[in-house]
Symmetry: C2
Subunit: 197 residues, 2 copies
DNA sequence: TCTCCATATTGACGATGTAAACTTATCTGC
DNA sequence: GCAGATAAGTTTACATCGTCAATATGGAGA
């Protein structure tokens, strides 16, 4: 059992971890199959056996990203808090995740990179979406009338969080420079709702 | 004066036009310096003289994209209509542009590709933003109190439009498939405002 | 122990962005 | 009108990337 085995043992997870680490440091342009393989200490063609192509690896990374995204949002939700506070906490979690991991966030929602028909990716993305969905049930606002009010409320909250996250990320809310934080966090840019407890 | 001149004459604009055309057909992955050069009928290194690098060409394409984006939004704004209608028209214009030119829209807001410190890009983006800004002045809603109410209103509207556009574009609002249109257009997912005419 | 097969390696190919050296046409000053 | 300067395009070359085919390795089951 040498330090450098021919069979890695858990190359699949190791490559995803390497990809996540590369994203944090070099961003999307630095993410390549060869770079991930090199970081794990494996030949450049090894990833092909586990993920068919670059798209496959990126899809796996995106799936892991959605899992972390959901966990990030759930982190601020203490069960006892009011509905109002929990909704705000989830929205803040959404945007804070994007600010903390901008490149991963961009990869997750980039129409080109991941394969959105992948089963685990769909499941993790749906789970992440369900955090906002669960909290937004029964919110009262002017568009929430009729059988589609729930869907419309979800669409609005998700759009708001997603748009804010991306625009803040690309520096559009801070004309002085992309590194500066936006003037107001998202909970100061949300409409008020009536909360049926 | 042959048909095939050594000096193209207007290569800079021709390359941007070629890039836009390639985007419509092949999307972002098909956009490359060499592909644009080939489409114009010029050697693969010719673009280097006008744009320093791929980032330079992409920045020019994004700037043109913002100009078209602003025009798209302004198209629905008839001067006589009510403020309420104009706001809705601008929001619909925002999302419809993204639906009509998804790859260009993605390029415009991708944090990696364009150089957001470029002067014309900043100017065109600011002009595009000003369409929403102008319409949203003086809207009454619960967060619009105080000296920052105007900024918060702009941030909310922009975030809402942008998030909706991106999520709809990547098929997140239509679980059946990315090609299907979302169930509700954005004007049915917006909060109501008080309008000070 | 022997065989099968998933796993990893090596080498190669075409495509891409970029750089440097070179060529061609247009412009400028006389 | 002409000669040098300069802008605009070409050619060649190189490193890197994703992908493929052929090969090597070692563990699992008989």
């Amino acid at each position: 059992m040498t330090d450098r085995k021919y069979h890695h043992g858990d190359l699949k997870h190791a490559l995803v971890a390497a990809g996540l680490a590369i994203l944090e440091v070099d961003g999307l342009p630095g993410l390549s199959l060869r770079a991930c393989a090199a970081r794990v200490g494996v030949s450049h063609a090894a990833p092909k056996n586990h993920f068919g192509s670059l798209k496959g690896l990126i899809t796996a990374i995106a799936a892991e990203g959605f899992a972390r995204h959901a966990a990030f949002m759930r982190d601020g939700l203490t069960e006892g808090a009011s509905r109002r506070d929990r909704l705000r906490a989830a929205m803040l979690g959404y945007t804070r995740f994007a600010a903390a991991h901008p490149h991963l966030f961009e990869l997750m929602f980039s129409p080109n990179y991941p394969d959105f028909s992948d089963e685990t990716l769909r499941r993790n993305a749906a789970d992440s979406y369900s955090v906002l969905r669960d909290i937004s049930t029964g919110l009262d606002w002017d568009k929430a009338a009729g059988p589609d009010g729930q869907v419309k409320t979800e669409m609005m909250l998700w759009s708001l969080a997603h748009g804010y996250a991306l625009l803040a990320m690309s520096g559009q809310f801070s004309p002085g420079g992309a590194t500066k934080a936006p003037a107001f966090p998202i909970d100061q840019v949300m409409p008020e709702f009536g909360y049926r407890e």
